[in-house]
Amino acid sequence: MEVEREDAYWERYSRNILLPEIGVDGQLKISRARVLIIGAGGLGSPAAYYLAAAGVGVLGLADADDVDLSNLQRQILHATADVGSAKVLSAAAKIRAINPDVEVVAYRQYLDAATIGPIVADYDFVIEGVDNFPSKFLINDACVLAGVPFSQGGILQFVGMTMTVKPGDTACYRCVMGEPPTGTVPTCSSAGVFGAIAGMLGSIQAAEALKYITGAGRPLYDSLLCFDAKAMDFMKSPVQRNPRCRVCGEQPDITALAGDNTRSCVPGGDRACRRAAGANRSAQD
């Protein structure tokens, strides 16, 4: 039993340990956990802060971009002096400053069909915080094929949406969304995003990761949580596995990661969210 920790360990995590749902056992699970955050941007920033603060053992961060001045309105891992630096390096410095217990693994690269599989498989949980639909579908497929649970998240304008997926047991992103949308899809850079909702949604994703790791509560399985910050309406809609899902259905045709994971062939996708939130299509960042 690895209970021989220094007083500083118990003091740092005392507010976790005091929760009956987490306790000593839950904190030790957090310290042993490996979480991969894909996208060190609007969603990855708050998620990384809270997971690091909670003492997650290994935090992987994947992002190929450099920090841009227009990121700073919502991507709170990065500061003015970081503009032009690699996001993963800027992020790693902040995480180490918060909690030197956390081992940071930085992937300064786009995870594509050729590279994502083994990386995802090396983690207990994945947080998806990317800003485009092809990547969202790729991450979904990679996590489903590797059997790694993940939190999917997206924000656009004033709207956020998120679901948590346990592959093989609960609805995946593709079950709910179908195929990547075709044509012009609004993104943060073209449609704008209300910065504080990145904090709301990324924090929810961190909470989902910690709930999964510790077993506290019930993650957003078979549920799509949407909110509209204008009215501050929160709506949780039930979703279910699609037997015809191309990656987790009864006869999947996506059985390996390849270029066509992200092929766009059917328009639409976020109908469930639009229905629930009365919102516009959400691409995210």
Binding site: V3, W10, E11, I17, P20, V24, D25
Partner: protein
């Protein structure tokens, strides 16, 4: 059945209770933990907190000065 001692007289709440939780986590069901703690907040809060966690408070004894011994069965 093992008995273990823990001195938390130099800690303040809520680290007092965290230290007790860690020790109880290590013990087996039925084992006894004897906790040295100070009067006031620790003496009021720790027994209530361990009871809430499902352990049994066997009793409290005055040791000396402002120090007490709380006996808990896991």
């Amino acid at each position: 059945m093992a008995t273990r001692q823990l001195d938390i007289t130099r800690y303040n709440c809520p680290i007092t209770f965290v230290k007790v939780k860690v020790q109880l986590y290590e013990l087996k069901k039925g084992d006894v933990l004897e906790v040295l703690l100070t009067g006031g907040e620790p003496l009021e809060n720790v027994p209530a907190a361990v009871t809430r966690d499902g352990h049994v408070v066997l009793g409290t004894q005055h040791v000396a000065g402002n120090t007490y011994c709380l006996r808990i069965r896991k």
